[in-house]
Symmetry: C2
DNA sequence: CAAACTGTAACAAATTTAATTACAATATAA
DNA sequence: TTATATTGTAATTAAATTTGTTACAGTTTG
């Protein structure tokens, strides 16, 4: 169970709903019933990718670094770096077998195509769109 | 690290390359350096979905249940039932928060869309196509 | 200078996946 | 008919990953 994408999307939704305000990891964690440190870990990824900004010190917190129309769910997906959708084999196929020798490259190519399909789909949805679904 | 899709695809590739022959879990496991019981577990999923057939007893083993042109990688993906590509949150968002109250439904809908995009992509590739990439 | 934050590291707990062992059931062949 | 090789499956252990927790240094404000 990996909830990193869900956490990141949840935070961005809150930031989008309360523009201008700096939200603390404690506050955000309370909205999703999750540990504040885990929130800060996801925020680091979003900050490295330029999607949010953070301010330290008293009155510190997080805010969007871009207008919500400019942030797509593909950006979020890339930022959080989930494990590949098709999984990842850890076995080393037998190189003496003609299939085993080549299948790794073909599976990698396929995995790339699937990741591209996911990103294509997610790139059509901005955080603005996502938040507009809410009542 | 989840290699279930890779194992299933590897087995189907071997079955496709050696039509008519019954391949044992031991033989197949040798080609991919993995435990034979793990192979049999994946084969069960493929058999339940009607992609392969198995024969018990001495001289038993596995074979394709359909022509390889009729088996798509989407069939394989559905058979192995990987965890969702966007992950799965285990937290229960705070229902007192307007965002927390609704986000679960919106994230579920999004996850469905992404799974559909993956399946759409994979449904364009048959095991026959995949195997034809090999030398 | 005290208070409330972020940023991180380190470690424990929980969950998931893979490997291993064991054995019943089945089918073939000698 | 009996030994053998296989699938089918359960149970257990080992390994890897994710989440939760604690701790604390660094930063900014009042």
């Amino acid at each position: 169970m990996n909830g990193q994408f869900q956490i990141a999307t949840h935070v961005l939704t809150l930031l989008c709903k309360q523009p201008g305000e700096l939200l603390s990891s404690e506050y955000v964690a309370g909205s999703m019933n999750v540990n504040p440190v885990l929130v800060r870990k996801e925020m680091r990824k979003l900050r490295v990718c330029g999607l949010i900004e953070s301010k330290e010190g008293k009155t510190g917190g997080y805010s969007l670094a871009l207008p919500p129309q400019k942030i797509t769910l593909a950006d979020v997906y890339k930022a959080v770096k989930l494990p590949p959708a098709l999984g990842q084999a850890k076995n080393k196929p037998n190189p003496a077998c003609p299939v085993g020798k080549q299948i790794g490259a073909h599976l990698d190519h396929l995995a790339d195509d699937v990741e591209a399909a996911i990103i294509k789909k997610l790139s059509t949805i901005t955080i603005f769109d996502f938040v507009n679904q809410f009542d």
